[in-house]
Symmetry: C2
Subunit: 194 residues, 2 copies
Amino acid sequence: MESLKQRILKDGHILDGNILKVDSFINHQIDPLLAFDIGKEFYNRFQNTQIDKILTIETSGIAFALCAGYHFNVPVVFAKKHTGINMSSVVYQSTVYSYTKQYNYTISVSKQFISAGENLLIIDDFLANGQAVLGLVNIANQAKSKVSGVGIVIEKGFQPGRKNIRSLGIRVESLAIIESFKDNKIIFREALKK
Amino acid sequence: MESLKQRILKDGHILDGNILKVDSFINHQIDPLLAFDIGKEFYNRFQNTQIDKILTIETSGIAFALCAGYHFNVPVVFAKKHTGINMSSVVYQSTVYSYTKQYNYTISVSKQFISAGENLLIIDDFLANGQAVLGLVNIANQAKSKVSGVGIVIEKGFQPGRKNIRSLGIRVESLAIIESFKDNKIIFREALKK
């Protein structure tokens, strides 16, 4: 998605050689028109797939999941993050390891909001190791719903997230894939190599 | 906002006589088309006011703030919740007491995302005692920005949030105001009494 890549080049910052900071338009301050276009692009890429519901995870995924849900005209459910409350009678839960923060956290979704047989599109802002997405896939499996695809705003292509999700046979569409940070510059993966 | 009130009557549930559960379309599962209409209604109510930025607080406020920001075509900033990290050199912080959860938490906004002289519209999903909104007002004051208004999706009219905010001279617009829960039914405040 060219407008997203241009925005990353314009307003993204590389920290410590390996961390991309995009909090001026993705993570803390959000550009609503860009978010809307991102939702439209997810729609364009998955419009020939049956999607009954969008599933994401708080916090930064919500804006983009909402905009995708608007274009698909389907409900958006966001998993909640806890540090380990056991409510398994009423929620599906999964444990996610954060490599960034180096701890486990629990995500949960109320059982009433995902159902057996539903076709889910998982949306998240970032894909690195894929742990959060795999946690959502685990929850979808518990609910006997189907993950029809994963849509990512920014993928770190040099980390194993895509491989981990693809190994489950799930399609991944990322709107911007970063190949590397070379000499403190952002190098995107070329479309053909995607 | 009539469509919102009808949806609350249809899908809202009253718990323990005093808690309104709307997690099937507001707090956990979101209806994107309704959220978009809510954003439009905030625009309609504040369109004659100078609004440079939308300010909200994670998590449930984000969807509605984003939709308002889309219609105003201005950036959306969400305050982050922490349990007390001191980063005051780079963020504005405020302490918020949660009556529901009975503890204090810290909210923070990066100093680079609100500026002196900016006109802010604060958006949140619920207004009860108004502590979260007052925390955002406090942050706006630290930044020397101006709060031009507060937009709320659902207000509990029998709690003092509106009075607390109005006492600072700030305009409050709520799209649905609950007057009471009588005999386990939701009674909305009539428009004229608002």
